[in-house]
Symmetry: C2
Subunit: 460 residues, 2 copies
C-alpha cells in the first residue's frame, strides 16, 4: 500500500514536470511566430501595423445583413463605429429592411458583380499602406508611374491575349476617363484655325462629347455621329479623331474604325467577362480601365497603350501638366489587385467573372424569349482565344427593345406610353448615352447586367 | 535528513504545480487578445488582414542604411524581395555608399522633411485597404467625395485658423494641381470672342501658365505678369482671372490680389510650418494641397474652398467630367493621415513641422550672414494665431542672391560667370518658376529647405 502510494506520488511529480516542459516548449515555439489568426495559436509577430489591420477587420466584420457594407471611412454612429451603408432599396441600421416600391438605378456602370470574388480573396487582395508610402512626387527613377505596375499590366495583356503591348508605351490615368481627353489632345490638330473633329458612332459613351465640350479647346471640337459626319463631309481637308468603343457600349458588339484615320479605341469592356477574345487588339491607341476589369471603379485607374512615341509623349505631358501623375496609393493597390487577378494565369478570376455574366445572360435570354412585348439585343458566338472555345458574348448591358405587334402597331410600354421607334433606347437627361431623351412618360429601358446581385432589375 | 528530503521533495512538487497553473493562466490570457507584437505575448487576433500587415512590416524592416527605403511596390531582387531605393547621391544595394561629386536637386518641391514625424507615428498612420474597399464610382450618398474627409478638412482649417470654411463649399482634386485649371475654367469668360486673361505675379509657379497653354481653351488665355499686364491694359472691357500665391513661391511672402477682381488664392504653403498665421484666409476661392501639409505629395490630393455656389458647381462639373472624381483609396488614406495630424488639436504635428523648418532657417541665416558673396531673402516677423506668438516665417525655399561688391561690380558666381542683375533667380529650362533662363554657365540658386535631411544642400 505504501509502495503504491509512493509510485503514485512519483508518477504525479513526473507528470507535473513533463507538463512544465511541454508548456515551455509550446510558449517558446509560439513566440517564434508560428502565426496566429485563423490558424490559431502562437504569438502575433506584428508591431506597428497590427492596429490598422485590426481596425480594418473590425469594420469588415460589422453585420449589414448582406444588404450593405460598413467602411473604414464611413460616417460613424454615437459609439464611433462606422454605420452600415445599405445597397439600393434596403434601409435600416443593419440594412435588413427592403424598401417597397423602390426602383434600382440600372443605368450606372458599377461592375459590382465581382464583389464576391474579392470577398473570397480577402487575404491576398488586402494591402497595408504605411504612413511612409511613396511620399515623393516621383518614383526613384524620376517617373510618375510605377514600373512594377506597368510590368504587370503588360503581363495581364499577354495572359489575356486582348492587346499587343510589345514595343508600345503605357501611360496611366485617373480611370480611362482622363485618358479619353488626353488622347484627343494628343491626336488633335495643332492648327487652331482648323480644329480636329471628334467623332463617335451612336450610341456612344456620352463622356466623349461631354469632355470635348467642357474643355472647349481651340484644337478640337465635337463633330457628332461618325457615319452622319462622313455623309456630310469629306475628310480630305478636315482633321478627324474618331472614338471607337469595342465592345461597344451599350450594345456589346466588337467594332472597328469607320474612317480608318486617327482612332482612339476604348476597350473598357474588352475582357473575357464580357466578350470572346478572338485576337489581341493591335491598334495604335487603346484605352483600358480597371473599373470594368476588376470592378474597382472607385480606385480611378486606367491606362493607355500607345504605339507612336510622339503621341505617347503628348499624353504623358497632358497627365503631368493636368495633375502631376496619379496617386501612388492607388498604384500600389492596383498592383496588389492585379497580382490576385493574374494568379494561375488569370483562369480562376476570369472564369469567375465570365460565369457570373453568362449566368445572367442565360437567365435574361430565357425571360425575354418568353416575352411577347420586349426583346433584347441579339448576340452572336465567336471563338475566344482565352477560353479556347466558341462562346457567346455576355455584355455589361442589355438593350431592351419593344417587339412590334402583329397588327403593325407598336406594343404599349409602361403606363400606356407610345413607343417612337425601335430600337428603344431612352436617355433620361444627364444619363450616360448619347441619344435624345424620350418624350414623357417613357422610361429608360437599359439594364446594367454587371450590377451586383443585390440590385433589383427593372420590370420589363 | 529524511525529513529534509521529504520537505524538499514536497516543495519541488508544489513548485511544479504552481508553475503549471501560471503557464495555463498566461496562455489563457494571451489567447484572449492581450495583443501581440511589440508588447509581446498573446495570440494574434487577426485573420485575413494579417498577411498584408506582415508583408508591409517585412518591407519596412528592410535596411537601407538610413539612406534609402524599400517599398511594397518597388522592383524586386532575385529572391523576390523589394530592393532599396536610395536617396539622392547614395548608391549600393543597401544605399550605404555616398556618390562623390553628386549634386542634389534642390529645385523640386518634395516636402520630405516630414518623414521623421510619420516614422514616429507609424502605428496610427498606417491604413489597411481591403479588396472590397469602395468598389463603386460613388459613395453611398451618390457623391464622389467622402463626407468624413470633408468634415475633417473643415476641422483642420478651424484648428489651424488659416481659412474660413463656414458656408463654403469644398471640392477635392488630384493634388491642388488639378484644381488650378478647374478654378480657371470656373471663373473664366463663357464668351469665346472675349476670353479671360489668366495672370500671375512674377515669380509665379509655372504650372499656372503650363496648364493654361496646354488646355488652350477658347475661354481663357495666359496673359503673363499681373503688374505688367495692368500697366498695358485696362480691365474695363477685359475679363481677368488672377492667380495669387500666398505665401508666395519661392519668396515666402504673404500676398494679396493686385487687381481685386476674380482671384484664385493658391494657399499651398499657408500652414504654420512655413509662415505665421495672422488670420484665417477669407477669400472666395482658396486652394490647398496635402503635399505641403503632411508631405504626402505622392498621394495626389488637394482641395478648393469656394464661396460662390455657381463657381462650386462648375469646379465640381470639371472634376467629374475630367475623371469622375478622385480615387477613394486616396481619400481613405488622407482621412487617416489627417486624423493623426489633428491629434491634440494639431499641436504635436505642427510644432514638429515648424521646428524642423525653423532650425533650417536658423542654420541658413547664420551661414549666409557670414557670406560676403551671397545672401538670402529677408524675412519679417508677424503674429501667428496658431502658435500665439510673433515669429519669423520659415519658407519652403531660400532665394539665394549675390551681394554687390564694394566696387559696385557684381560678385562672381560659380565658375567665374557674371551676374546679370539681382535678385538672382535662375531657371534652368523646364524648371518650376517663370523667369527667363540664365545665360550659361549660371546655375540655379534656389534651395528647397523643405527637402529631407538626407539631401545635400547646394554649395553657396
Amino acid at each position: 500500500m505504501r509502495k503504491m502510494k509512493k509510485y503514485c506520488y512519483g508518477f504525479c511529480v513526473l507528470s507535473s514536470i513533463i507538463i512544465n516542459i511541454l508548456f515551455a516548449i509550446y510558449l517558446y515555439l509560439g513566440g517564434r511566430g508560428s502565426g496566429g489568426g485563423s490558424t490559431g495559436g502562437g504569438e502575433c509577430a506584428l508591431s506597428w501595423s497590427e492596429k490598422a489591420a485590426a481596425e480594418a477587420e473590425a469594420v469588415a466584420a460589422i453585420s449589414c445583413s448582406d444588404h450593405g457594407r460598413a467602411y473604414l471611412d464611413g460616417s460613424t454612429n454615437s459609439e464611433g463605429r462606422p454605420v452600415c451603408e445599405c445597397y439600393a432599396c434596403y434601409v435600416g441600421s443593419d440594412c435588413s429592411q427592403l424598401s417597397r416600391g423602390c426602383a434600382a438605378d440600372a443605368n450606372s456602370g458599377d461592375p459590382i458583380f465581382l464583389e464576391p470574388f474579392w470577398m473570397q480573396h480577402a487575404t491576398n487582395s488586402a494591402i497595408l499602406v504605411s504612413g511612409l508610402h511613396r511620399m515623393s512626387y516621383r518614383y526613384n527613377d524620376n517617373l510618375y508611374m510605377s514600373v512594377e505596375l506597368e510590368n504587370h499590366i503588360r503581363k495581364l495583356h499577354s495572359i489575356v491575349g486582348n492587346a499587343i503591348t510589345k514595343d508600345r508605351y503605357i501611360v496611366f490615368g485617373i480611370g480611362s476617363s482622363q485618358l479619353l481627353n488626353a488622347a484627343v489632345y494628343a491626336l488633335s490638330s495643332r492648327n487652331s484655325s482648323s480644329p480636329s473633329n471628334v467623332l463617335a458612332s451612336i450610341p456612344f459613351y456620352s463622356m466623349y462629347k461631354a469632355q470635348t465640350v467642357l474643355f472647349n479647346s481651340k484644337n478640337f471640337r465635337f463633330g457628332g455621329d461618325t457615319k452622319a459626319w462622313q455623309l456630310n463631309n469629306s475628310t480630305n481637308n478636315m482633321d478627324v479623331v474618331e472614338f471607337v468603343t469595342s465592345p461597344n457600349n451599350p450594345d456589346g458588339e466588337l467594332k472597328n474604325s469607320v474612317l480608318g484615320g486617327k482612332t482612339i479605341y476604348d476597350h473598357a469592356y474588352y475582357w473575357p467577362h464580357f466578350t470572346p477574345i478572338p485576337a489581341p487588339s493591335d491598334h495604335d491607341l487603346m484605352i483600358f480601365t480597371l473599373s470594368k476589369l476588376t470592378g474597382h471603379a472607385g480606385a480611378r485607374f486606367g491606362w493607355a497603350v500607345i504605339k507612336d512615341k510622339d503621341v505617347y509623349e503628348k499624353i504623358l505631358t497632358y497627365i503631368v501638366v493636368a495633375d502631376l501623375g496619379i496617386s501612388k496609393d492607388t498604384q500600389l493597390r492596383v498592383l496588389k489587385l492585379l497580382k490576385v487577378a493574374l494568379e494561375e494565369d488569370g483562369k480562376p478570376f476570369f472564369k469567375f467573372a465570365y460565369n457570373k455574366m453568362k449566368d445572367r445572360w442565360d437567365t435574361l435570354t430565357s425571360i425575354f424569349s418568353k416575352s411577347t412585348r420586349f426583346s433584347i439585343q441579339h448576340i452572336h458566338p465567336l471563338h475566344c482565344n482565352f477560353f479556347n472555345q466558341t462562346r457567346l458574348p455576355s455584355p455589361a448591358y442589355a438593350w431592351v427593345m419593344p417587339r412590334f405587334s402583329s397588327s403593325g402597331h407598336l406594343a404599349d410600354l409602361v403606363q400606356s406610353s407610345t413607343l417612337l421607334a425601335p430600337p428603344l433606347f431612352c436617355s433620361p437627361p444627364l444619363q450616360s448615352f448619347s441619344e435624345p431623351p424620350c418624350p414623357p412618360p417613357h422610361h429608360c429601358r437599359l439594364i446594367n447586367i454587371s450590377k451586383g446581385e443585390r440590385e433589383r432589375a427593372i420590370d420589363a
